[in-house]
């Protein structure tokens, strides 16, 4: 890394920022007046799907795949076991919005208004500082991608999935919807039918990329859907860290984000996926994220779910080979009026596999944080281990928290433990800190950071920066603690 970062410094900065907090949501909830060049209009039917496929000039197998997925989507009911999803306006959502024909590897070629948007969000700055490559997506299409030459020379492929489908069709076909088939759930089927954009990252055997690669997703249109599909392949013995950031302006009408992320960590590979989601409070965020983890490979999920109206997200690891491991760290912030139904899944399908899940949630005002998880040890997953920890912090009296883990153990030699706690910011702690001269805001944010400490210790630097930038906005509300 060219620029020195220290996590402690970031924490300090966060506290400092909280003290002088005058940052407003408008910092990213702005929207520009960029008009889409092409849109399929509202609603979803066979014609819309065919149209998307036509515009993209896709191979025939993809077109057929989309139509099949549409059938599956139509046949599946809206899930009722989780949060209320009646606010999704299926009829009046715009399933495809194309900003421009431009998809450039040069920043200068990106249309000015879009460029301004990404500039405001600090995307190019981040790329310069510590990224090995980046992709930017605006509504339905990628508008920019770059990859440092050193990695390109080693055979790394990093671009939006549409470009990849054109340039590396066979590679894409090998992995597309293998881990997450369209039959998986209604939202995965929807993505299969109307997917557009997302990233494709392929790291060849033995290549270890020491700087992260990032995709930034921006949803601009009102009542639009963003359905990107991301595939990360870490081939045998490789190492990669992939980051995603997401924002959208706030509108009165709800938008839908239903992405698919598939990660393939092959034998001895090490893949890390970090995402910070800060959709505005008119977005239903329903992604399906899954990793196949092969022998002795390591998969790390690091997630921050900060924004959106409703999020349902359970990144899963299928531990398919012996000694495969997965770590899953997740921080959810359920701000006022929002629901975070998040968690993790780990499926132990081979011997000596291990998983560790740490989930922390914070509920502010009437925010509702839900942990929902699945842990399965199949018969034959001998000597596998798992530990799940989920903790919730309630900030206000009317904050609520729900914890629904689900553990299925079919293997007697496996070891499994689960712990969960729910607590609140204690008056005693607050008073103690305040008696030492801290303001109520400082004191409570210090306690919040203390609560997050064991996760913060493990999260990568880039994530701490991102967390800092985003969490402080929500934390600015802490004045209302009590």
């Amino acid at each position: 890394m060219e620029v020195e970062y220290s996590k402690d410094a970031e924490m300090e900065k966060l506290l400092e920022d909280l003290k002088n907090s005058n940052i407003k949501k408008e910092d990213w909830e702005f929207h520009d007046n960029y008009k889409p060049v092409y849109s399929t209009g509202n609603g979803l039917n066979r014609k819309v799907v065919e149209e998307i496929s036509d515009i993209k000039k896709e191979p025939d197998w993809m077109r057929r795949f989309r139509l099949k997925a549409l059938e599956i989507f139509e046949s599946k009911p809206v899930p009722t076991w989780g949060p209320d999803l009646s606010g999704i306006d299926w009829e009046n959502t715009n399933y495809y919005n194309r900003p421009d024909d431009v998809n450039s590897t040069k920043w200068e070629d990106v249309p000015d208004e879009i460029k301004d948007t990404f500039n405001k969000l600090g995307v190019p700055e981040m790329e310069q500082k510590y990224l090995a490559g980046s992709v930017a997506q605006y509504d339905s299409e990628g508008v920019y991608h770059s990859l440092k030459k050193v990695w390109e020379d080693k055979g790394v492929v990093f671009m939006d999935l549409d470009s990849a489908l054109r340039e590396h069709p066979d590679l894409v076909k090998d992995y597309f919807c293998k881990a997450v088939p369209a039959t998986d759930n209604k939202f995965a089927a929807l993505n299969g039918a109307v997917w557009s954009g997302g990233s494709f990252l392929y790291v060849p055997k033995g290549v270890q990329i020491d700087m992260p690669l990032q995709t930034y997703f921006r949803m601009n249109g009102e009542a639009t859907g963003q359905f990107e599909h991301t595939i990360v392949v870490a081939d045998e013995g490789s190492k990669v860290h992939y980051i995603e950031g997401c924002t959208a302006p706030r509108y009165d009408r709800n938008s839908l984000h239903s992405a698919i992320v598939e990660i393939y960590a092959k034998k001895n590979a090490h893949a890390r996926y970090t995402s910070v989601q800060n959709w505005s409070k008119s977005v239903y965020n329903m992604p399906t994220k899954r990793a196949w983890v092969d022998e002795n490979a390591k998969m790390e999920w690091v997630g921050g779910s900060l924004g959106s109206k409703v999020t349902m997200l359970y990144p899963s690891s299928y531990l398919r080979g012996p000694y495969a491991t997965t770590h899953n760290l997740n921080v959810s912030l359920a701000g006022p009026g929002t629901v975070k139904d998040t968690g993790a899944k780990a499926l132990h399908l081979a011997p000596h596999t291990s998983s560790r899940i740490i989930a922390k949630s914070i509920s502010i005002e009437d925010g509702k944080a839900i942990y929902r998880g699945l842990l399965r040890m199949n018969k034959g997953a001998e000597h596998s281990k798992s530990h799940v920890q989920c903790d919730a912090l309630l900030i206000n009296d009317n904050s609520t928290s729900f914890t629904y883990p689900h553990d299925e153990i079919y293997e007697p030699t496996a070891t499994f433990g689960h712990e969960a706690t729910v607590g609140r910011i204690g008056t005693d702690e607050l008073t103690y800190l305040r008696s030492r001269g801290l303001s109520e805001d400082e004191a409570s944010s210090m306690i919040v950071l203390g609560f997050l400490d064991d996760v913060m210790k493990e999260i990568p630097m880039e994530f701490a920066v991102e967390m800092n930038r985003l969490i402080k906005l929500e934390m600015g509300k802490l004045g209302a603690v009590g």
């Binding site: 729900f402 914890t403 689900h406 293997e411 007697p412 070891t415 499994f416 433990g417 689960h418």
Partner: protein, 415 residues
């Protein structure tokens, strides 16, 4: 089940008719879950509507051999007959059948029984279709020890309802044993409701050891007023399918609910053991600890939900489940949950599933102890540590007895 209202009119037209009718309507209205419980199974312990019909229309079958009651039992129940010791009656404890209580205690029934319809589908059905059960009233300030033993024919299918009301500052110790006579595959449902008045204390030891083929469905509820304390020791050992649902209703300030549960599933048994708290009362507390031992091809699921309502300021709720999975063909599962609707509370749950540590077995074997006995000892140790906390002699003895008697078959599938 459409013909049920007719049955209701003719067969069970008693003083509880309206209650039965409303409960049945509630049963009809409650939705049947339409999604799978987990990606692998639809239900962990499935009770079909066909089985419920059996329970509903089952006839009381005579027990041929004379029932072997526990010697110390001071309440003996078999078929619809109830026998109560004189000593208990002298202490002012009212023990009667539910059917008789409808006639002899209309006020109490109206006050306690009728307002509580239940929460769950099958519970509603039992409340509408019970044949009989116990009705017990313990006056304020009484100190009593009750040992009830209920024996039913293993092939009989029926539903029963038991209501136990105990007064202010009363102190009760109640041992409740359910067993069967003969062999059979009856489906037997029961609702047991407790009403604990202010500052009462109730120690309840529940022991279910029915015959192999019996399907046992039990709903237990504790309505706890101010400072009422309820300690619950339960053991589930017998039956083929066991659905055991226990939920406290902690209405009162400072009410306390402690549960120590142990269950042993073996053979092809399927057990679904649920212990939950529903806390409305300020400063109420719940501490639930459940242990399971899974052997053979059996399956056990532990569920527990700590529900702290908006009003339950300064309440605490803890749930802790541990399951020992001893065989290759066994299955263990835990579904703890926390539903916290008020920030001024503390709650926690933990669950663990593990097997016997082979290093421990080896250590015992190196001292000359046979493999199987070593496993029995470690298993007894696993449940024992929790039982010691419960500090109830009878409970401890039973648990050790079951743990150590896990037959040779228990561990056969291991290794």
């Amino acid at each position: 089940m459409e013909s049920y209202p007719e049955t209701l009119k003719t067969r069970l037209h008693d003083g509880a008719y309206e209650y039965r009718r409303d409960a049945f309507l509630a049963f009809l209205k409650s939705p049947v879950r339409d999604y799978k419980e987990s990606p692998t199974v639809k239900d962990y312990v499935e009770i079909t509507d066909k089985e419920l019909q059996e329970m509903l229309y089952g006839e009381m079958k005579e027990i041929k051999e004379s029932p072997e009651f526990s010697e110390t039992a001071n309440i003996r129940v078999f078929n619809d007959e109830i026998e109560v010791s004189d000593e208990l009656q002298k202490q002012g404890v009212l023990v009667t059948s539910m059917v008789d209580a409808l006639k002899s205690q209309p006020e109490l029934v109206k006050k306690y029984v009728f307002p509580k319809m239940g929460k769950e589908r099958i519970e509603f059905l039992i409340n509408s279709s019970w044949r009989n059960g116990l009705f017990i009233f313990i006056p304020d300030g009484a100190k009593v020890t009750i040992r009830a033993h209920t024996i039913s024919n293993a092939s009989a299918s029926f539903a029963s309802k038991t209501v136990i009301i105990y007064g202010k500052e009363s102190k009760v110790r109640y041992t409740d044993t359910y067993s069967t006579a003969g062999q059979g595959t009856g489906i037997q449902g029961k609702n047991i409701y407790f009403f604990g008045e202010e500052s009462s204390r109730f120690d309840y030891l529940y022991l279910q050891d029915k015959a192999e083929g019996v399907r046992d469905i039990t709903f237990v509820k504790q309505y706890l007023e101010r400072y009422a304390e309820f300690q619950f020791f339960h053991i589930n050992h017998g039956g083929s399918k066991v659905l055991f649902v226990d939920e406290s209703q902690q209405i009162g300030l400072g009410s306390s609910f402690r549960v120590y549960g142990v269950n042993f599933s073996n053979g092809d048994q399927k057990m679904d053991i649920r212990d939950s708290s529903c806390q409305d009362g300020e400063e109420s507390n719940a501490d639930i600890q459940v242990r399971g031992v899974v052997t053979g091809k059996s399956s056990t699921i532990h569920r527990g939900n700590i529900d702290l309502e908006e009003k339950a300021i300064k309440a605490t709720g803890f749930y802790d489940s541990k399951i020992l999975l001893l065989s290759k063909d066994g299955f263990a599962n835990s579904k703890p949950a926390l539903e916290i609707k008020n920030a001024n509370t503390r709650s926690k749950h933990g669950s663990a599933i593990s097997n016997v540590d082979e290093e421990q077995i080896f250590y015992l074997r190196s001292r000359g102890i046979e493999d199987q006995i070593a496993r029995g000892m470690v298993t007894a140790g696993f449940v024992g540590t929790m039982i010691e906390k419960a500090n109830d002699e009878e409970f401890t003895r039973k648990v050790y007895q079951y743990a150590e008697s896990l037959g040779a078959n228990a561990f056969l599938a291991t290794n």
